[in-house]
């Protein structure tokens, strides 16, 4: 029995509408993707939805009190609250350069959390 599902691809701002055909919970066909990333997105979204997390961490002695950070890859959506809570306890000290690792191998996923910008000392 083929089940149809409609998704919006969030990989890029295009927001392609994906028409996904599922058989027993597995993706058998995808239509409407603007590029090949759409296919991978649809498969992940059905089985194991993932998102890139962007948030901030405390920074001491910087020109701002917060440092924006992001994950190097999409992390399992269900574990985002856990990751946010962990990052709330993380703090760094200025100066920081864009791309500096703020937290390594978070959630034992092999994914790092990186600084999204330089922050100079105050």
């Amino acid at each position: 029995m083929i089940e149809k599902k409609s998704l919006i691809c969030v990989t890029c701002p295009m927001g392609c509408r994906l028409d996904v055909s599922l058989d027993g919970g597995s993706v058998v066909a995808v239509e409407g993707e603007g590029c090949k990333r759409g296919l991978a997105y649809a498969q992940d979204e059905i089985k194991d939805p993932r998102r890139v997390l962007t948030t901030t961490v405390t920074i001491f002695d910087g020109i701002h009190p917060l440092l924006p950070v992001h994950t190097t890859a999409a992390v399992p959506m269900a574990r985002i609250p856990e990751l946010v809570a962990a990052l709330r306890k993380v703090s760094v000290t200025a100066p920081v350069r864009v791309g500096d690792v703020v937290a390594a191998d978070v959630l034992d996923s092999g994914i790092d959390v990186l600084a999204s910008r330089d922050i100079q000392r105050r």
């Binding site: 901030t56 405390t58 917060l66 609250p81 946010v84 809570a85 709330r88």
Partner: protein, 488 residues
């Protein structure tokens, strides 16, 4: 309770502040109490800001007399206090032939009230004076003594000048009852303690009858009447003249006027309300204001609106100002029912109150040190580049613009926070410096101003308010989450 005051003025509106200032000409201990976080936080902050010529009020009324007298005092007062005002006259516009008679009646009434400089001009001359006016205008009553004033600065400057001359101002202090001794009103009870005095002046605006009731006086009631307004972007929909429609029995009608800062202001409608703090803007009220204003200026465009607000007129049951020193409550002077033309009349009301106090036995010994002049704080945007440069050389904070639309500098903000009547809130700064009063309505400056207020007042940013306790602007630090995770 320590040494009693000579006079306690309750209410930091324009009447209370000008009364306190008038009293500071004499060797008196004067205390001004205001329940808000700033002076000018009731009726005085939300009105049409027009200096009325005085042709409206019924001849022989206190309103008529004090309006004309107050009007005459304005030029000198604005000069002394450094307050923006413009005296280019005001116009009552007749849009139909049947309204021409009204213009005649108003001119006649004005003559009886002693208003100088009234003339009726043709529709075409009126259109020359105000090109945006509806071309169907038939004629207009021109009142050359009319004008506009910055109502915030008039009130604040009066309070500041009073403080400079020895008056004590207490903000966020609410009177809860009157004190009595030997059959006299002997002071006030407040949420910050009891203060005794020989006289108490009740200048409480829409709450004037509450104080009167505390004194056992029941012959007068405040019947608040709400008015709603639109403010327009200064660069757009800009009128040059103060335009009134022909009045109706209840109201002067929807006015279209420039403010002293060049924004067009339209309003107010007139709606009786039961509540003393009903400053709720309604869709219905706004629609009434807009369509009323469009009869005078059809080109007004809602896309140019930057703010809407409502104010309460402290209208009284007698229909006239109610200023008395009642025999039933010796020691008390009531200044009640101060609706339009109250702002214009205020300087004359203050003198009237001083006279009443003298008649009641308050000795008035001139205060030789009295300085009538208040040097206004510099407004960066109004200065020439050379003057701006000099100011920045003295204090670099005048070089940093915090509010981009109104070009308000950090120097002006800091000066207002430490002024004789300190600006302790965002709205208090807005009234003094115009920050946040422009087209972005604080979008740009709010985060910056929160930080400046916190720094200068030495409080946490979470304690910075819009207009006093309970109106905090931010709740907590982003990372200071209590227990629990997402979804507070």
């Amino acid at each position: 309770m320590n040494i009693p005051y000579d006079v306690i003025v309750i209410g930091g509106g324009v009447v209370g502040c000008l009364t306190a200032r008038a009293l500071s000409r004499y060797q008196l201990r004067v205390l001004l109490l205001e329940r808000g976080a700033d002076v000018c936080s009731g009726t005085s902050k939300a009105n049409t800001a027009i200096i009325h010529a005085g042709y409206d009020a019924k001849p022989g009324s206190l309103k008529a007399r004090l309006n004309v007298a107050g009007n005459r005092m304005y030029a000198q007062l604005c000069e002394e206090l450094g307050v923006l005002s413009e005296r280019h006259g005001t116009y009552v516009v007749a849009m139909a032939d049947e309204e021409l008679r009204t213009l005649e009646e108003l001119r006649e009434r004005g003559k009886q009230n002693g208003v100088p400089g009234l003339s009726i001009i043709s529709g075409s001359r009126m259109l020359q004076a105000e090109p945006l006016l509806n071309p169907q205008a038939r004629a207009a009553l021109y009142a050359e003594t009319g004008g506009i004033v910055d109502p915030f600065m008039m009130t604040i400057a009066a309070a500041e000048n009073a403080v400079t001359n020895g008056v004590t101002v207490m903000l966020e202090t609410e009177v809860t009852d009157l004190e009595r001794q030997d059959g006299r009103i002997s002071g006030v009870r407040t949420d910050s303690g009891v203060f005794s005095s020989r006289f108490v002046v009740n200048a409480c605006g829409v709450y004037a009858d509450t104080i009167m009731a505390q004194a056992g006086l029941t012959g007068f009631r405040i019947k608040p009447r709400k008015g709603e307004y639109y403010v327009f972007d200064r660069e757009k929909s800009r009128v040059r003249q103060v335009l009134f429609p022909c009045p109706t029995p209840v109201s002067k009608g929807i006015v279209v006027t420039p403010t002293s800062h060049g924004n067009t202001l339209i309003g107010p409608n007139a709606e009786d309300t039961e509540s003393r703090d009903d400053i709720v803007v309604t869709k219905q009220g706004l629609d009434e204001v807009f369509s009323g204003a469009q009869r005078l200026v059809p080109s007004l465009d809602k896309r140019d609106v930057i703010a809407v607000f409502a104010g309460l007129r402290a209208a009284g049951s007698s229909g006239d100002f109610w200023i008395d020193a009642p025999a039933e409550a010796p020691g008390l002077v009531n200044v009640a029912g101060i609706e339009s033309p109250g702002f214009t009349a205020a300087p004359a009301i203050a003198e009237y109150v001083v006279d009443l106090l003298r008649e009641c036995g308050l000795p008035l010994v001139p205060n030789r040190a009295f300085n009538p002049e208040r040097k206004p704080a510099p407004h960066f945007s109004e200065l020439s580049h050379t003057q701006q440069q000099e100011l920045i050389a003295k204090d670099p904070r005048y070089g940093r613009i915090v509010c981009r639309c109104e070009m308000v500098t950090e120097g002006e903000i800091v000066a207002a926070i430490h002024a004789p009547v300190p600006a302790l809130t965002y709205d208090a700064l807005k009234r003094r410096t115009r920050l946040g009063a422009g087209r972005c309505q604080g979008g740009f400056d709010t985060p910056r101003v929160i930080n400046i207020l916190a720094r200068e007042l030495q409080v946490a940013a979470t304690a910075v308010t819009k207009r006093g306790f309970g109106s905090e602007l931010v709740r907590r630090k982003t990372k200071d989450i209590g227990t629990g995770g997402m979804g507070e």
